[in-house]
Symmetry: C2
Subunit: 228 residues, 2 copies
């Protein structure tokens, strides 16, 4: 489902250059559930933005479901993302002028679904994360963890083939975090969804089929609890 | 250091009313390090905003260091907060037009410090959280966990008597989270700072001298891992 080879990404600002990814490779089979861990600042969000066609690598190639994403123009990339990728951002980026239900329904509107279908599916997802009573709240009327759960529902609305989630449980208490992970795993088992989840939570990472760590700008199999 | 009695807080929006705090009491001695846990949506951020004089309860009283905070006018409240309370928000709220160093120095500027003193102290704090190389990055040039660490440094600049931190480690890997907690505990031990920290991380909560949970809109001693 994901084939990424030789990814390089630096941020340049005048003279300084922060070299984040330095030849990262990644191969994920359809239906796999992969966790990515690594220190704060190691490049996990950067990697996810490249995989989600939200940014372009300085070098290297990325194929999602056989489509080369780096070559897409902005319009094609947006349509590809809408149909193929469910993305949960580290900072949820809900639309402030729409309530929770409307935010979750949004990918359906963009994809041209009947609004009845989008609405039913959105309400079902919100109920699964315990937010049926919050559907008419605006983002600034939601707690941090509630916003995070709404963002996950939005990413799952279209039952996308690929879910990319950037720390989807960072603002959740342990029980809510488990329920969110259950929901993602259920999607994978029910629909064969491929998932790549960045998480700092070791308990959740261990529930994933595969565990990778980002170290020195490259991905490698997780080496176990780091000794010092 | 904190005496809060009978706190009530609801959010009203037309007809509906979300009753969040329902008679919460809290008494914290100077120098205590208290953790507050509770499910997502239970009212932890709401409580912290009241204690930090960023919002006003519907009923009840709050004294911080003997000062009744609910009665302060906005100017007095702002000065009180600047001098007395270090606040780390759940969503860090750094100023986008200032770099990390300037953000951390800001409370010093507001308090009238010489900029040399604010700068030295800010650099020292940034180094303690491993961000000496990021002092000239703007917030949108920082990772999620880096922004969170910068926000903590800003809250600690004036060595405030009271630290209120709303999930200060939610975006941090386990090792960075431990370092951040070490920094907060060092402040408490070195300066007698009182700290109230909302956290979802059980390992960190257990390092605090006292553990409270928010349940049904009131605070109570943590009842241990919840059975189901
Ligand atoms: N626009 C930018 N300009 C310069 N440096 C940047 C920029 N964006 C990110 N960085 C740096 O790149 C590095 C990687 O950032 P990234 O957000 O990918 O890290 P991360 O692994 O997601 O961290 P976290 O776990 O804290 O969310 C960080 O050290 C950050 O300071
Ligand atoms: N402006 C508002 N209008 C209506 N309801 C609100 C508003 N702000 C917050 N709420 C609701 O009040 C409740 C408490 O919110 P709060 O942010 O204090 O929770 P929290 O314990 O900090 O949660 P989390 O752990 O997810 O951050 C939530 O259920 C939220 O939906
Ligand atoms: Mg990140
Ligand atoms: Mg909160």
């Amino acid at each position: 489902a994901i084939e990424a080879t030789g990814l390089h990404k630096s941020y340049r600002d005048g003279e300084r250059s922060v070299d984040v990814l330095r030849g990262a490779d990644l191969s994920v089979e359809p239906g796999e559930f992969v966790a990515v861990v690594g220190p704060s600042g190691s490049g996990k969000s950067t990697l996810l933005h490249l995989l989600g066609a939200l940014d372009v690598p300085d070098a290297g190639s990325i194929e999602i479901g056989g489509t080369a994403v780096a070559g897409l123009d902005p319009v094609e990339a947006a349509r590809f993302r809408n149909r193929t990728i469910g993305f949960v951002f580290q900072f949820q980026e809900l639309l402030a002028d729409f309530d929770a239900l409307e935010n979750v329904m949004m990918p359906g509107k963009i994809a041209g679904w009947r609004s009845g279908r989008a609405r039913d599916r959105a309400l079902e997802l919100l109920a699964e994360v315990g937010l049926e009573d919050r559907s008419d709240h605006f983002p600034n009327q939601l707690s941090g963890g509630e916003r995070q759960r709404v963002a996950l529902c939005r990413a799952l609305l279209l039952e996308p083939p690929l879910l990319l989630a950037d720390e989807p449980t960072g603002n959740l208490d342990p029980e809510s975090a488990v329920r969110v992970f259950d929901l993602m795993i259920a999607l994978q088992e029910g629909h064969g969804t491929t998932a790549l989840v960045v998480t700092h939570n070791p308990a959740l990472a261990n529930r994933c089929g595969r565990l990778l760590q980002l170290d020195g700008g490259r991905l490698e199999a997780f080496a176990g609890a780091s000794g010092s």
